[in-house]
Amino acid sequence: MVKKKLSFEDAMARLREITETLERGSVTLEESVKLFSEGAELSQLCYETLGAAEQKITELSKICADTEEA
Protein backbone atom coordinates (compact mmCIF):
# COMPACT_ATOMS: atom_id res chain seq x y z
CA MET A 1 0.00 0.00 0.00
CA VAL A 2 2.81 2.39 0.93
CA LYS A 3 5.00 3.12 -2.05
CA LYS A 4 8.70 2.38 -1.67
CA LYS A 5 9.57 5.62 -3.42
CA LEU A 6 8.01 7.74 -0.69
CA SER A 7 10.56 10.21 0.65
CA PHE A 8 11.33 10.31 4.34
CA GLU A 9 9.87 13.79 4.53
CA ASP A 10 6.61 12.73 2.88
CA ALA A 11 6.41 9.61 5.04
CA MET A 12 6.83 11.68 8.21
CA ALA A 13 4.28 14.22 7.01
CA ARG A 14 1.74 11.52 6.20
CA LEU A 15 2.36 9.80 9.52
CA ARG A 16 1.71 13.09 11.31
CA GLU A 17 -1.48 13.55 9.32
CA ILE A 18 -2.70 10.05 10.17
CA THR A 19 -1.94 10.56 13.84
CA GLU A 20 -3.84 13.84 13.93
CA THR A 21 -6.80 12.34 12.08
CA LEU A 22 -6.96 9.44 14.53
CA GLU A 23 -6.66 11.85 17.45
CA ARG A 24 -9.63 13.84 16.22
CA GLY A 25 -11.57 10.59 16.37
CA SER A 26 -13.86 11.60 13.53
CA VAL A 27 -13.31 8.53 11.37
CA THR A 28 -15.19 5.26 11.32
CA LEU A 29 -13.71 2.23 12.99
CA GLU A 30 -13.04 0.65 9.62
CA GLU A 31 -11.22 3.74 8.39
CA SER A 32 -9.22 4.05 11.57
CA VAL A 33 -8.03 0.46 11.20
CA LYS A 34 -6.99 1.24 7.63
CA LEU A 35 -5.20 4.43 8.70
CA PHE A 36 -3.46 2.68 11.53
CA SER A 37 -2.07 -0.03 9.31
CA GLU A 38 -0.88 2.59 6.82
CA GLY A 39 0.73 4.49 9.69
CA ALA A 40 2.41 1.33 10.92
CA GLU A 41 3.91 0.75 7.48
CA LEU A 42 5.08 4.35 7.26
CA SER A 43 6.73 4.27 10.64
CA GLN A 44 8.45 1.03 9.63
CA LEU A 45 9.78 2.82 6.55
CA CYS A 46 10.99 5.75 8.64
CA TYR A 47 12.69 3.49 11.19
CA GLU A 48 14.46 1.72 8.36
CA THR A 49 15.76 5.05 7.06
CA LEU A 50 16.90 6.06 10.53
CA GLY A 51 18.58 2.73 11.02
CA ALA A 52 20.72 2.99 7.88
CA ALA A 53 24.09 1.66 8.93
CA GLU A 54 26.45 2.93 6.29
CA GLN A 55 26.48 6.03 4.20
CA LYS A 56 26.61 5.41 0.49
CA ILE A 57 29.08 7.58 -1.37
CA THR A 58 28.94 7.84 -5.15
CA GLU A 59 31.28 9.86 -7.28
CA LEU A 60 29.61 12.29 -9.63
CA SER A 61 31.82 11.10 -12.49
CA LYS A 62 30.32 7.61 -12.11
CA ILE A 63 26.80 8.98 -12.39
CA CYS A 64 27.83 10.92 -15.49
CA ALA A 65 29.43 7.84 -17.02
CA ASP A 66 26.37 5.70 -16.20
CA THR A 67 23.93 8.15 -17.71
CA GLU A 68 26.03 8.48 -20.82
CA GLU A 69 26.02 4.70 -21.30
CA ALA A 70 22.30 4.59 -20.91
Binding site: E9, T49, Q55, L60, I63
Partner: protein, 416 residues
Protein backbone atom coordinates in the same frame (compact mmCIF):
# COMPACT_ATOMS: atom_id res chain seq x y z
CA UNK B 1 78.68 66.97 -38.67
CA UNK B 2 75.62 64.89 -39.48
CA UNK B 3 72.21 66.51 -38.99
CA UNK B 4 69.50 64.13 -37.78
CA UNK B 5 65.75 64.56 -38.13
CA UNK B 6 63.54 64.44 -34.99
CA UNK B 7 61.98 61.27 -36.31
CA UNK B 8 65.36 59.68 -36.63
CA UNK B 9 66.23 60.55 -33.03
CA UNK B 10 62.99 59.13 -31.67
CA UNK B 11 63.31 56.04 -33.84
CA UNK B 12 66.88 55.54 -32.67
CA UNK B 13 65.99 55.90 -28.98
CA UNK B 14 63.06 53.58 -29.37
CA UNK B 15 65.20 50.83 -30.88
CA UNK B 16 67.83 51.43 -28.24
CA UNK B 17 65.34 50.95 -25.40
CA UNK B 18 63.56 48.04 -26.99
CA UNK B 19 66.78 46.19 -27.58
CA UNK B 20 67.61 46.37 -23.90
CA UNK B 21 66.42 43.11 -22.31
CA UNK B 22 66.29 44.79 -18.91
CA UNK B 23 63.33 46.88 -20.04
CA UNK B 24 61.28 44.42 -22.11
CA UNK B 25 59.50 42.36 -19.41
CA UNK B 26 59.55 44.07 -16.07
CA UNK B 27 57.42 44.65 -13.01
CA UNK B 28 56.96 48.04 -11.46
CA UNK B 29 55.15 49.24 -8.35
CA UNK B 30 53.52 52.62 -8.05
CA UNK B 31 50.45 54.68 -7.42
CA UNK B 32 48.02 55.56 -10.18
CA UNK B 33 47.41 59.21 -11.00
CA UNK B 34 45.84 61.14 -13.89
CA UNK B 35 43.83 58.05 -14.72
CA UNK B 36 41.87 58.35 -17.99
CA UNK B 37 39.62 55.67 -19.34
CA UNK B 38 39.08 56.03 -23.06
CA UNK B 39 35.62 54.63 -23.31
CA UNK B 40 35.61 54.47 -27.06
CA UNK B 41 38.91 52.68 -27.55
CA UNK B 42 39.02 50.89 -24.21
CA UNK B 43 42.66 51.97 -23.71
CA UNK B 44 43.65 53.18 -20.26
CA UNK B 45 46.06 56.10 -19.84
CA UNK B 46 47.56 57.07 -16.52
CA UNK B 47 50.74 57.89 -14.67
CA UNK B 48 52.57 55.73 -12.16
CA UNK B 49 54.35 57.59 -9.41
CA UNK B 50 56.23 57.00 -6.23
CA UNK B 51 57.53 59.49 -3.69
CA UNK B 52 60.02 61.04 -6.06
CA UNK B 53 59.19 60.28 -9.67
CA UNK B 54 56.52 59.77 -12.29
CA UNK B 55 56.32 57.67 -15.45
CA UNK B 56 53.60 57.77 -18.10
CA UNK B 57 51.75 54.50 -18.62
CA UNK B 58 49.29 53.07 -21.09
CA UNK B 59 47.27 49.85 -20.99
CA UNK B 60 45.72 48.87 -24.28
CA UNK B 61 42.18 47.57 -24.46
CA UNK B 62 43.08 43.93 -25.12
CA UNK B 63 45.05 43.89 -21.84
CA UNK B 64 42.59 46.13 -19.98
CA UNK B 65 39.75 43.70 -20.68
CA UNK B 66 41.41 41.09 -18.49
CA UNK B 67 41.42 43.38 -15.43
CA UNK B 68 39.48 42.02 -12.47
CA UNK B 69 39.12 45.43 -10.83
CA UNK B 70 38.66 49.01 -11.89
CA UNK B 71 41.80 51.11 -11.46
CA UNK B 72 41.49 54.63 -10.16
CA UNK B 73 43.60 57.49 -8.94
CA UNK B 74 45.48 56.91 -5.71
CA UNK B 75 45.38 53.13 -6.04
CA UNK B 76 48.66 51.32 -5.44
CA UNK B 77 49.33 48.77 -8.14
CA UNK B 78 51.92 46.40 -9.45
CA UNK B 79 52.22 46.38 -13.23
CA UNK B 80 53.98 44.10 -15.65
CA UNK B 81 55.07 45.19 -19.12
CA UNK B 82 57.80 46.97 -21.02
CA UNK B 83 59.17 50.45 -21.42
CA UNK B 84 59.22 52.03 -24.83
CA UNK B 85 58.89 55.31 -26.67
CA UNK B 86 55.90 56.70 -28.47
CA UNK B 87 57.66 58.05 -31.51
CA UNK B 88 55.37 60.91 -32.55
CA UNK B 89 55.78 62.64 -29.16
CA UNK B 90 59.08 61.21 -28.05
CA UNK B 91 57.37 60.37 -24.83
CA UNK B 92 58.70 57.26 -23.23
CA UNK B 93 56.18 55.29 -21.26
CA UNK B 94 55.30 52.04 -19.57
CA UNK B 95 53.23 49.72 -21.75
CA UNK B 96 51.23 47.72 -19.21
CA UNK B 97 50.29 44.12 -20.00
CA UNK B 98 48.99 43.13 -16.56
CA UNK B 99 48.04 45.08 -13.51
CA UNK B 100 47.17 44.00 -9.99
CA UNK B 101 46.30 46.04 -6.97
CA UNK B 102 49.28 46.09 -4.66
CA UNK B 103 49.27 44.57 -1.20
CA UNK B 104 46.56 43.16 1.01
CA UNK B 105 43.93 45.55 -0.19
CA UNK B 106 44.09 44.12 -3.69
CA UNK B 107 41.85 41.10 -3.35
CA UNK B 108 39.60 43.00 -1.00
CA UNK B 109 39.04 45.62 -3.58
CA UNK B 110 38.26 43.18 -6.35
CA UNK B 111 35.97 41.41 -3.92
CA UNK B 112 34.10 44.55 -2.92
CA UNK B 113 33.66 45.57 -6.52
CA UNK B 114 32.37 42.15 -7.53
CA UNK B 115 30.07 42.04 -4.55
CA UNK B 116 28.61 45.40 -5.37
CA UNK B 117 28.11 44.51 -9.01
CA UNK B 118 26.33 41.19 -8.35
CA UNK B 119 24.33 42.66 -5.51
CA UNK B 120 23.01 45.36 -7.85
CA UNK B 121 21.96 42.65 -10.26
CA UNK B 122 19.98 41.02 -7.48
CA UNK B 123 21.99 37.78 -7.25
CA UNK B 124 22.00 37.96 -3.46
CA UNK B 125 18.33 38.84 -3.03
CA UNK B 126 16.44 36.94 -0.38
CA UNK B 127 13.56 36.37 -2.78
CA UNK B 128 15.72 34.03 -4.87
CA UNK B 129 16.91 31.93 -1.95
CA UNK B 130 15.61 28.39 -2.20
CA UNK B 131 14.58 26.49 0.93
CA UNK B 132 16.91 23.72 2.09
CA UNK B 133 15.11 20.35 2.20
CA UNK B 134 14.79 18.97 5.72
CA UNK B 135 15.53 15.35 4.87
CA UNK B 136 17.65 15.25 1.71
CA UNK B 137 17.97 11.79 0.19
CA UNK B 138 21.00 12.76 -1.91
CA UNK B 139 23.60 15.35 -0.98
CA UNK B 140 26.02 16.74 -3.53
CA UNK B 141 29.47 17.56 -2.15
CA UNK B 142 31.80 19.73 -4.18
CA UNK B 143 35.19 20.18 -2.58
CA UNK B 144 38.79 19.06 -2.62
CA UNK B 145 39.23 15.30 -2.11
CA UNK B 146 42.34 15.86 -0.01
CA UNK B 147 41.46 18.58 2.47
CA UNK B 148 40.28 18.20 6.04
CA UNK B 149 37.00 19.80 4.98
CA UNK B 150 35.77 16.74 3.13
CA UNK B 151 36.62 14.48 6.08
CA UNK B 152 34.80 16.77 8.49
CA UNK B 153 31.73 16.80 6.28
CA UNK B 154 31.71 13.03 5.75
CA UNK B 155 32.07 12.40 9.48
CA UNK B 156 29.23 14.68 10.44
CA UNK B 157 26.91 13.52 7.66
CA UNK B 158 27.42 9.85 8.47
CA UNK B 159 26.89 10.46 12.17
CA UNK B 160 23.78 12.56 11.75
CA UNK B 161 22.04 11.14 8.67
CA UNK B 162 23.67 8.08 7.10
CA UNK B 163 20.53 7.33 5.10
CA UNK B 164 21.41 10.07 2.62
CA UNK B 165 23.47 9.13 -0.39
CA UNK B 166 26.47 11.39 -0.92
CA UNK B 167 27.30 12.45 -4.45
CA UNK B 168 30.91 13.49 -4.30
CA UNK B 169 32.59 15.62 -6.91
CA UNK B 170 36.29 16.15 -6.20
CA UNK B 171 37.60 19.46 -7.57
CA UNK B 172 40.46 21.88 -7.30
CA UNK B 173 39.50 24.54 -4.77
CA UNK B 174 42.33 26.95 -5.36
CA UNK B 175 44.57 28.13 -8.14
CA UNK B 176 43.96 28.43 -11.82
CA UNK B 177 41.13 26.28 -13.08
CA UNK B 178 39.50 25.98 -9.67
CA UNK B 179 36.56 28.33 -10.39
CA UNK B 180 35.82 26.56 -13.66
CA UNK B 181 35.88 23.13 -11.98
CA UNK B 182 33.66 24.30 -9.14
CA UNK B 183 31.15 25.80 -11.56
CA UNK B 184 31.21 22.76 -13.81
CA UNK B 185 30.46 20.50 -10.82
CA UNK B 186 27.43 22.60 -9.89
CA UNK B 187 26.24 22.53 -13.49
CA UNK B 188 26.66 18.75 -13.79
CA UNK B 189 24.76 18.06 -10.59
CA UNK B 190 21.91 20.16 -11.91
CA UNK B 191 22.07 18.49 -15.29
CA UNK B 192 21.94 15.00 -13.77
CA UNK B 193 19.50 16.07 -11.08
CA UNK B 194 21.45 13.83 -8.76
CA UNK B 195 21.24 15.80 -5.51
CA UNK B 196 18.57 17.40 -3.34
CA UNK B 197 21.04 19.87 -1.89
CA UNK B 198 24.62 20.84 -2.78
CA UNK B 199 27.42 21.58 -0.33
CA UNK B 200 30.22 23.55 -1.92
CA UNK B 201 33.28 24.73 -0.09
CA UNK B 202 36.72 24.19 1.33
CA UNK B 203 38.62 24.56 4.56
CA UNK B 204 40.33 27.72 5.77
CA UNK B 205 43.17 29.41 3.96
CA UNK B 206 44.58 32.76 3.00
CA UNK B 207 42.51 35.30 1.13
CA UNK B 208 44.25 34.21 -2.06
CA UNK B 209 43.44 30.56 -1.31
CA UNK B 210 39.76 31.38 -1.08
CA UNK B 211 39.77 33.56 -4.18
CA UNK B 212 38.27 30.85 -6.41
CA UNK B 213 35.04 31.26 -4.48
CA UNK B 214 34.86 34.90 -5.50
CA UNK B 215 34.72 34.05 -9.17
CA UNK B 216 31.95 35.76 -11.09
CA UNK B 217 31.10 32.79 -13.31
CA UNK B 218 30.93 30.49 -10.30
CA UNK B 219 28.61 32.98 -8.61
CA UNK B 220 26.33 33.05 -11.63
CA UNK B 221 26.32 29.26 -11.88
CA UNK B 222 25.35 28.93 -8.23
CA UNK B 223 22.64 31.53 -8.72
CA UNK B 224 21.27 29.55 -11.67
CA UNK B 225 21.35 26.24 -9.79
CA UNK B 226 17.93 24.73 -9.32
CA UNK B 227 19.26 22.57 -6.52
CA UNK B 228 19.62 24.55 -3.29
CA UNK B 229 23.27 25.34 -2.52
CA UNK B 230 24.90 25.62 0.90
CA UNK B 231 28.27 27.33 0.78
CA UNK B 232 30.94 26.50 3.29
CA UNK B 233 34.15 28.35 2.61
CA UNK B 234 36.96 28.70 5.12
CA UNK B 235 36.35 29.87 8.64
CA UNK B 236 33.54 31.74 10.29
CA UNK B 237 35.19 35.10 9.55
CA UNK B 238 35.72 34.43 5.86
CA UNK B 239 33.12 35.75 3.48
CA UNK B 240 33.18 34.96 -0.22
CA UNK B 241 30.93 35.90 -3.14
CA UNK B 242 29.90 32.25 -3.13
CA UNK B 243 28.56 32.72 0.43
CA UNK B 244 26.40 35.64 -0.61
CA UNK B 245 24.91 34.03 -3.67
CA UNK B 246 24.31 30.60 -2.06
CA UNK B 247 20.89 29.77 -0.68
CA UNK B 248 22.44 29.27 2.72
CA UNK B 249 25.84 30.25 4.06
CA UNK B 250 27.50 27.97 6.55
CA UNK B 251 30.38 29.38 8.57
CA UNK B 252 32.49 26.23 8.07
CA UNK B 253 32.32 22.94 6.14
CA UNK B 254 31.39 21.12 9.36
CA UNK B 255 28.58 23.57 9.99
CA UNK B 256 27.38 23.07 6.41
CA UNK B 257 27.09 19.34 7.04
CA UNK B 258 25.09 20.02 10.19
CA UNK B 259 22.79 22.41 8.36
CA UNK B 260 22.26 20.00 5.48
CA UNK B 261 20.86 17.09 7.46
CA UNK B 262 18.86 16.59 10.65
CA UNK B 263 20.25 14.65 13.59
CA UNK B 264 18.80 11.19 13.39
CA UNK B 265 18.68 10.85 17.19
CA UNK B 266 16.38 13.85 17.36
CA UNK B 267 14.30 12.60 14.47
CA UNK B 268 14.04 9.20 16.13
CA UNK B 269 12.62 10.85 19.24
CA UNK B 270 10.09 12.70 17.08
CA UNK B 271 9.17 9.51 15.27
CA UNK B 272 8.80 7.58 18.54
CA UNK B 273 6.50 10.27 19.87
CA UNK B 274 4.45 10.25 16.71
CA UNK B 275 4.09 6.48 16.68
CA UNK B 276 3.13 6.46 20.37
CA UNK B 277 0.48 9.11 19.72
CA UNK B 278 -0.85 7.20 16.75
CA UNK B 279 -1.14 3.95 18.72
CA UNK B 280 -2.79 5.77 21.60
CA UNK B 281 -5.26 7.44 19.25
CA UNK B 282 -6.11 4.14 17.57
CA UNK B 283 -6.55 2.46 20.95
CA UNK B 284 -8.75 5.29 22.14
CA UNK B 285 -10.86 4.89 19.03
CA UNK B 286 -11.42 1.23 19.77
CA UNK B 287 -11.96 1.78 23.50
CA UNK B 288 -14.50 4.50 22.86
CA UNK B 289 -16.45 2.16 20.65
CA UNK B 290 -16.18 -0.71 23.09
CA UNK B 291 -17.64 1.56 25.74
CA UNK B 292 -20.46 2.58 23.43
CA UNK B 293 -21.15 -1.08 22.76
CA UNK B 294 -21.12 -1.87 26.47
CA UNK B 295 -23.52 0.94 27.19
CA UNK B 296 -25.75 -0.14 24.37
CA UNK B 297 -25.77 -3.82 25.28
CA UNK B 298 -26.57 -3.04 28.89
CA UNK B 299 -29.70 -1.14 27.87
CA UNK B 300 -33.03 -2.59 29.21
CA UNK B 301 -34.43 -3.28 25.79
CA UNK B 302 -31.64 -5.72 25.00
CA UNK B 303 -31.71 -7.40 28.39
CA UNK B 304 -35.55 -7.71 28.50
CA UNK B 305 -37.07 -7.21 25.06
CA UNK B 306 -40.62 -7.87 26.35
CA UNK B 307 -40.62 -4.50 28.10
CA UNK B 308 -40.24 -2.85 24.79
CA UNK B 309 -42.25 -5.35 22.84
CA UNK B 310 -45.48 -5.69 24.89
CA UNK B 311 -46.89 -2.19 24.64
CA UNK B 312 -46.12 -2.17 20.96
CA UNK B 313 -47.83 -5.48 20.44
CA UNK B 314 -50.91 -4.19 22.24
CA UNK B 315 -50.97 -1.07 20.17
CA UNK B 316 -50.65 -3.12 17.01
CA UNK B 317 -53.52 -5.40 17.99
CA UNK B 318 -55.88 -2.56 18.73
CA UNK B 319 -54.94 -0.94 15.47
CA UNK B 320 -55.74 -4.15 13.61
CA UNK B 321 -59.06 -4.37 15.43
CA UNK B 322 -59.94 -0.82 14.56
CA UNK B 323 -59.05 -1.50 10.99
CA UNK B 324 -61.22 -4.65 10.87
CA UNK B 325 -64.31 -3.10 12.40
CA UNK B 326 -63.95 -0.09 10.18
CA UNK B 327 -63.76 -2.35 7.16
CA UNK B 328 -66.78 -4.31 8.26
CA UNK B 329 -68.88 -1.16 8.73
CA UNK B 330 -67.91 0.02 5.34
CA UNK B 331 -68.86 -3.34 3.81
CA UNK B 332 -72.27 -3.32 5.40
CA UNK B 333 -72.97 0.16 4.14
CA UNK B 334 -71.99 -0.75 0.62
CA UNK B 335 -74.16 -3.86 0.75
CA UNK B 336 -77.33 -1.98 1.76
CA UNK B 337 -76.66 0.64 -0.89
CA UNK B 338 -76.44 -2.12 -3.48
CA UNK B 339 -79.77 -3.65 -2.35
CA UNK B 340 -81.44 -0.26 -2.60
CA UNK B 341 -80.10 0.31 -6.09
CA UNK B 342 -81.15 -3.12 -7.40
CA UNK B 343 -84.65 -2.55 -5.95
CA UNK B 344 -84.90 0.71 -7.84
CA UNK B 345 -83.65 -0.89 -11.00
CA UNK B 346 -86.22 -3.70 -10.67
CA UNK B 347 -89.04 -1.17 -10.41
CA UNK B 348 -88.06 0.18 -13.80
CA UNK B 349 -88.39 -3.23 -15.54
CA UNK B 350 -90.96 -3.30 -18.48
CA UNK B 351 -92.41 -6.49 -17.00
CA UNK B 352 -93.23 -4.50 -13.92
CA UNK B 353 -94.92 -1.91 -16.19
CA UNK B 354 -97.13 -4.58 -17.81
CA UNK B 355 -97.90 -5.92 -14.36
CA UNK B 356 -99.37 -2.53 -13.49
CA UNK B 357 -102.06 -2.99 -16.30
CA UNK B 358 -100.36 -1.79 -19.47
CA UNK B 359 -100.31 -3.88 -22.70
CA UNK B 360 -97.73 -4.18 -25.44
CA UNK B 361 -99.07 -4.31 -29.03
CA UNK B 362 -97.32 -6.04 -31.90
CA UNK B 363 -97.94 -7.21 -35.44
CA UNK B 364 -98.30 -10.89 -35.95
CA UNK B 365 -94.65 -11.08 -37.02
CA UNK B 366 -93.76 -9.79 -33.55
CA UNK B 367 -92.65 -6.24 -34.44
CA UNK B 368 -93.85 -3.62 -31.99
CA UNK B 369 -96.82 -1.50 -32.96
CA UNK B 370 -96.34 2.11 -31.85
CA UNK B 371 -98.57 4.24 -34.04
CA UNK B 372 -102.05 4.21 -35.57
CA UNK B 373 -100.32 4.69 -38.88
CA UNK B 374 -98.50 1.38 -38.56
CA UNK B 375 -101.77 -0.57 -38.78
CA UNK B 376 -104.85 -0.76 -40.84
CA UNK B 377 -108.43 -1.80 -40.26
CA UNK B 378 -108.93 -5.60 -40.04
CA UNK B 379 -105.21 -6.32 -39.33
CA UNK B 380 -104.80 -8.99 -36.76
CA UNK B 381 -102.48 -7.89 -34.00
CA UNK B 382 -101.40 -9.22 -30.63
CA UNK B 383 -101.44 -7.63 -27.20
CA UNK B 384 -99.14 -8.82 -24.42
CA UNK B 385 -100.58 -8.49 -20.93
CA UNK B 386 -99.20 -9.63 -17.60
CA UNK B 387 -100.26 -13.24 -17.87
CA UNK B 388 -100.49 -13.94 -21.63
CA UNK B 389 -101.22 -12.79 -25.18
CA UNK B 390 -104.52 -11.57 -26.61
CA UNK B 391 -105.27 -11.92 -30.38
CA UNK B 392 -107.04 -8.77 -31.58
CA UNK B 393 -108.45 -7.37 -34.84
CA UNK B 394 -108.17 -3.63 -35.57
CA UNK B 395 -111.62 -2.20 -36.16
CA UNK B 396 -110.84 1.52 -36.32
CA UNK B 397 -108.02 4.08 -35.99
CA UNK B 398 -108.13 7.69 -34.74
CA UNK B 399 -104.85 9.55 -35.02
CA UNK B 400 -104.43 12.40 -32.50
CA UNK B 401 -101.55 14.74 -31.57
CA UNK B 402 -98.19 13.27 -32.59
CA UNK B 403 -95.21 12.28 -30.29
CA UNK B 404 -95.46 9.85 -27.44
CA UNK B 405 -92.77 9.66 -24.70
CA UNK B 406 -89.66 8.30 -26.41
CA UNK B 407 -88.38 6.87 -23.21
CA UNK B 408 -91.12 4.31 -22.83
CA UNK B 409 -90.67 3.32 -26.49
CA UNK B 410 -87.05 2.60 -25.83
CA UNK B 411 -87.85 0.45 -22.86
CA UNK B 412 -90.42 -1.54 -24.80
CA UNK B 413 -87.94 -2.21 -27.53
CA UNK B 414 -85.29 -3.20 -25.08
CA UNK B 415 -87.64 -5.64 -23.44
CA UNK B 416 -88.62 -7.44 -26.64
Amino acid sequence: MRVLSVTQINFFLKSLIESDGRLTDIYAAGEISNFTDHYRSGHLYFSLKDEKSVIKAVMFSNAARRLRFRPKDGMRVIVRGRVSIYEPSGQYQFYVEEMQPDGLGALNLAFEQMKEKLSKEGLFSEEYKKPIPRFPARIGIITSPTGAAVQDMLNILSRRWPAAELIFCPVLVQGEGAPAQLAQAVRLMNEKRCADVILIGRGGGSAEDLAAFNDEQLARTIFASEIPVISAVGHETDFTICDFVADLRAPTPSAAAELAVPDRQEVRVQLDTLVRRMKKAAENGINDRRQLLDTASSARVLRDPAVWLTPRKTALNSAVQRLESGARRRWMAEKSRLADLSGRLDAMSPLKVIARGYALLSHEDGTILRSVQETEITEKIEARVSDGILHLTVTGAEPEAPQQGGEIDGKKEAEL
